[in-house]
Every structure is written in C-alpha cells, then in structure tokens.
Amino acid sequence: MDVLTLSRLQFAFTIAFHYIYPPLSIGLGVILVIMEGLYLKTRLPLYRQMAKFWVKIFALTFAMGVATGIVMEFEFGTNWATYSRYVGDVFGSALAAEGIFAFFLESGFLAVLLFGWDKVGPAMHFVSTLLVALGAMFSAIWIVVANSWMQTPAGFHVVGEGMKARAEITDFWAMVFNPSSMNRLSHVVLGAWQAGAFLVLSVSAYYLLKKRHIEFAKSSMKIGLVVAAAASILQLVTGHQSARIAGQYQPAKLAAFEGHYAENAPADAHLFGWVDEKNERVIGLKIPGFASWLLSNDAQRPVKGLRRFAPADRPPVNATFQFFHIMVAIGIFQILLSWLGLWCWRRGTLFQARGLLWIFVFSVLGPQIANQAGWFAAEAGRQPWIVYGLLRTSEGLSKTVTANMVLSSLIMFTFIYLLLFALFIFLLDRKIRGGPEEEEIPTEEYRRHPYAIRP
C-alpha cells in the first residue's frame, strides 16, 4: 500500500478509536451534573451513590480519551505535514484554544471529582463536576470548529502560490462561525449526550433485569431516559439542518448521501440501497423527491447531482451513502426507543417491561455506531478534499514520511489499541458487575455533614 492509503487508514483508525470515548465523557458529564445537582438539592444518599458510581465509569472513559487523544494532536504534524503548513494559521489557533480553554479545565477538576469527595464540600464538588462537564463540552466546540472549517472554509484568504500557498485568517469570528460549525457542533454534542444517556440506560436495565441495585437502577434509568429522549428528538432537528447546509455548501457530499447522480432532477431519499457507482444508479427502496422536499420543502426542486462533478472530484459514493443511512436509521430507532420508554414510564410499566429492558441493554451500541457512521459519512463525503475545494487529501501528506514508517506505526497502534480496548471492556464490565457501593444508613451526624463520613 502507498503512503497515502496507509496514512488515511491510520488516521481513520486512530480517530475512530479515540471517538469511542469523548462522547461518553461529554454525555456522562451532563448526567453527572444532573445527579449531583439532585443530591445537592435533596441530600438523598441515593443520588450521591449514583454520582459516585458514574464518576468511576466517567473516569475510565476519560482516561481512555486522554490516552488516545494526544495521538490525534500529533498526527496532523507527523502524517499530514503539508496540510499542517497549509492550514496552521487557521486550524492551529482552534487547536490551541482547545488546549487552553477545555483540556486544562476538565483534567484539572476531574481530580476533585475523583479524589475530592472528602477534601471539598458538596457544593464545591458539584461545581467541579459542572466545570468538568463544561470543559468536555468546550473541547467539542473547538475541534468541531476546526473540522467544520475544513468542510466549509470561511474567514481566510490564500497567500502565496504553488508549494508556498497557505490559508491565513482574515476574520477570526467568520472562521469560528463558518457556515457549518454551529450546526455541526450541536449535532456532535447531542450525539455525545445520546452516547452517555444510552450507556446509563443500558447498565440500569441490566441491573433491573438481574434484580440488583433496584432503587439505584430505577433512578439512574429515569435520568438516562430523559436525556436520551430529549437528545434523540433534538438530533432530528440538527441532522436535518446539517443536510441542508451540506446541500448548500458541499453539494457533492449531499449528492453522495443519497447517491444522486442526475444533473438537474429532484433527489430521492432512500430507506436503504446500494450504489452501483459504475452505472451511476442506486438499487434500493426510495421515496421519490423526498430528499428535495427535505432540502427545500419542494419535492420537484432539482438538486445538484454527482454528474456535475468530474469523477476525480467525487467522494466515494457508496461508502458515503451507507454510512449516512446507517446513521439515520439508528437515529430514528433511538427516537422511537427512548420515547417508547418515556411512554412506558408514564404508564408505570417501564421497570417490568423485560423485552424493552433487554433492548435497552444493547441500545448502548446504537449511539456508538451512529456517531462513528456519522463521522465517516462526513469525512468520506468531503473527499477528495482535505480542505473542501482548496486542498486535496493526497496533497496534504508529509513529504519525509515513507510507507514503511507509516506501516510500522499503524501496526503499533493496532496492537496497542486492541490491547487497550480489551482492557477497557474488561474493566468496564468489572465495574458494572461490581455495582455501586452501598451507602450507609444516614445517621444524625451524616445528615449534618454528609461528606464527612465514608460510606
């Protein structure tokens, strides 16, 4: 394999593996804030027990996120040096802002979350949780801003020619609020909330099915369900908006989402299908004109098709199509599932519905797959560009790095990450099986100084 393929493989593999963890941290962060907030308000030991348990899970996902995240920051320079020279003036500032505004905040106060139960009061502990959750959110902001700039560049001009050309900022705020950044940020953050919420749902459902930690599980499930239902339904709005923005600014990507080749015809939406790239058609079940209607409220409105673009300027159509449809299908399923859960809760049958609980146990995989598929659709759909319309992926490589070097590092990452993943699953499983620590029955002293005594 050539150095381009290997570098792309390595980046895809390391970012996909990394992206298992930060959404869990962002999502669990919100849930921890809710739990600790409830504890602060009610002082019920149950909420403290919940917070303590989920903090431990949070810590595990956070550690994995940190360990695999630093790889990402280095890889722009190691494998994509030409890209780094080209975008450093723009992209670098977002990355540096992420370090200053997000990572210090979350990693600093995480210490209080983990080790500070006895060292600070409940209010300060709550504030620390809030700051960690905010820090996790801020990290999403800057990296999504940076990535969105690669999708819909704005606020810059290109200086120099040929090999010396590079993008320079002309308007910082136009760069930050580029056409897709705020929409994509909300889409990513909601996806992260879903990841956290469905994990909580899954573990709670597991306990209920095994008849263990019943009160803990019921309470956790309610919080998880509310967050899951809210995030899932809102995701429909941001997803819809995201497609409209892609239609406006990245028409080749949008056309690939639906395998829409015709130059000037209304676009169909597919429930599922397979793109025959050779004959430029899609085999599958479609709703005629539905994509046009979604984009413009008019099923007859023509949509720019892939034939408008030279074959060299088209993304890999079938891959983009499939990733996009996997994401959408899971997204819809999660709405149905979470709202069905809410409905059962209202009817008072939620905790007895064993079938539904079993679906919840496995639902943790939904957001994980959807988040990955969504990113693959977004990034594959941007191809062949690394910065849309400006710089091709093949032009962004490091000039001094050889295929053998990348092959050796790819083997190294494969080995390390498989090991880490096995350990992560093993420890996560152990923590879940171990369950929350039992809280002491509150004594009078405990009521007055709830944090002074160890449970």
Partner: protein
C-alpha cells in the same frame, strides 16, 4: 531581542514548555523511579502522590503542541514529520503511562500490578529520554532542505550529543520527581526518598557538567548569545544556585522550598536553551540558511495577535485552576478508598 509578536510567541511557547517540564517533569521523574520502591503500599503512595495532578500536567504538552501548530506551523510540520518514528515512540510511551496509572490498582493480582508497574516506569523513562534527545537535536541542529523538510534519518537523531542531553534530562526529572516525593511523603518512606534525592542529584550534576562541556566544544553556536550579551550569564548562575540550594533546604527540612528551587532550576535551564536558540526554532546543520526561525516559520501577524488575545484570556484561568487544584490536594499523600 526586539519586542515583536514573533518574539512574544517564542517566549510563550517557551513558557508552556517550561510549565510542562516543571509539572509533568515531576510525574515523569516519579514514574522513572517507580521500580525503586519495593512494597505495594509504597508504590501506591508514589502513584497517588501524582494521582490527582498528572493528567492536568500533561495538558501543558498538548497546549504547547497546539500553540506551536498555531504560531509556528512550519516548525510543527517539519519536526513532527521529520522525527516521525521518535514521535510515535513518544506517543506509545505517553499512552502506556496514562493507562498504567489508571489501570494498575484496579485489580489486586500481583502479576497485573507488576506488569503495569514496569510499563509505568519504562514509559516514563522513555518519555524523559525522548524529550531530552529531541531538545539535544534541536540545539545541535538537524539537516534541513530549502523546502523546510528534514533531510536526515531516525538514526541521525541518536547522535552522542543528543543522547547525552537525553540522559541529562532523565536525571534532572528523576531528581525533580524525588524532590516532589519528599514533599508529599512522610515517615520512613520520606527518609528513604531523601537518599534518592542525593543520588539523582549527583547523577544530574555529573551529566550536566558533561553536557555543558560537550555544548561548548561541539555546539558552540548555543553559547554565542552569551558572548554577545553577558547579562544572560545570570541564567546559568541562577540555575546552579537553585540546584545548590536544594540539598540545603532538604537538610533543614524545608521540603517545599527545595521543590521551588528545583522548579527554578528547570526554568533557568530551559530559558538558557531558549536564549541559545533565539531567534531560531530549528537550526539547520550543515546549511544554517535553511534554519526555521521565528520569522520564516511563523503564522501571519493577524493570527499571532488573535492567539495572543486567547493566551491573555486563557492563561490566567489556567494558572487559577492549577493553583486551586494543587491547593485542594496539598499536604502529604494518604491512601483512601478513592486512591489509585
């Protein structure tokens, strides 16, 4: 030194690296010495001495990397791609260090803990060495082309001078780590670690003397600025005084002051490095005209000023958080149920 944005960013990247060297430096030092403690309880105490803070300390490196990318993209691109295999080793070491700290105490089995103890220690030592080797090569100069690309190989990076700087860095961080541990431990462990301070300090002083001689003989360009502006001799003198002050403070039981001295010594040494390098960021050898400087490798003035605004807003916050966290976790380390 002209007061322009490029020079300010040279200094700011330097400040971030000094912050990293001082803060994560003691984590790396503690990790490097980890296997010298024998019992499980001792090892847990050492681990928990850095437990609440190591993660935040590593962020200084991440932020320094981001700042380098933003302020001097050519340096970031040239060095990271040129030192490809070295950076991959550094990444592997940083990953193993992070998960070793997190995973070690999660299971009680001896073999589990022994494996993570070894990987914690080995990865900390490897990180220290690699950082030192990188600094050594930057000081010595590396072959660059007119296109700002690295023209050497991985093995060229392992030259004797760079390896010497690598060893010196490892010894410095071990010394710094053991001084931090003196501050955080009590009773017999405290007395034991005082001996470590002495030994690591002797190792560091010997290696530092060798490095200084090697620098004057083989890398004389690093000494040029000092000849032009003798005022900069204050830095090595300050560094030496700070080092000399450490045993004095430890002898009098002023552990915190000893630690502050050690921090000052690291800051002085890195400042020394910065003065020797300025205004270059990566020196080209043998063709100095291809060197990456704070001017030919920098982002636009607009970006540098935007970044300065970000730094001026962000850094006081960062320093605020750091002080808060260290204040909450002040005092001797004790094991409890939340400990690693």
């Amino acid at each position: 030194m002209p007061f322009d944005l490029n020079s300010v960013w040279f200094a700011l990247v330097g400040v971030l690296l000094i912050g990293y060297a001082i803060l994560d430096g003691f984590d790396l030092g503690v990790g490097s010495l980890h296997l010298f403690s024998k019992t499980d309880e001792e090892r847990r105490l050492l681990l928990n001495a850095i437990g609440p803070v190591w993660d935040g300390n590593e962020v200084w490196l991440v932020t320094a990397g981001g700042a380098l990318f933003a302020a001097f993209p050519d340096v970031y691109a040239t060095v990271f791609s040129g030192f490809y295999l070295a950076f991959m080793m550094l990444l592997a070491a940083l990953i193993f260090r992070a998960v070793a700290i997190e995973f070690r105490s999660k299971m009680p089995q001896k073999i589990w803990r022994a494996c993570w103890d070894v990987s914690f220690s080995a990865s900390s030592i490897l990180c220290s060495l690699l950082i030192g080797v990188a600094l050594g090569n930057i000081a010595r100069g590396i072959p660059l082309t007119a296109e700002k690309e690295y023209a050497g190989s991985f093995l060229d990076l392992l030259n004797p001078y760079a390896l010497l700087v690598g060893l010196t860095t490892a010894a410095l961080l071990m010394m710094h780590g053991s001084i931090y541990l003196v501050l955080k431990t009590e009773n017999p462990l405290h007395d034991k670690i005082r001996v470590w301070v002495q030994r690591t300090m002797i190792a560091f002083i010997v290696l530092y003397a060798l490095t200084t001689m090697a620098t004057l003989v083989y890398v004389p360009h690093m000494a040029e600025p000092f000849k032009r502006r003798p005022i900069f001799f204050a830095l090595p003198i300050l560094g030496l005084l700070a080092i000399a002050n450490v045993p004095r403070e430890i002898h009098h039981g002023h552990d915190f002051r000893a630690f502050v001295s050690s921090c000052a010594a690291i800051a002085a040494l890195l400042a020394l490095f910065g003065v020797g390098l300025y205004p270059n960021l990566v020196l080209s050898r043998p063709d100095p005209q291809y060197s990456l400087t704070i001017y030919n490798a920098a982002s636009s003035a607009k970006t540098l000023s935007i970044m300065l605004a970000i730094a001026l807003i962000g850094m006081p916050l960062v320093i605020g958080y750091t002080i808060t966290i260290y204040w909450i976790f002040r005092g001797k380390v004790k094991l409890d149920r939340t400990s690693y």
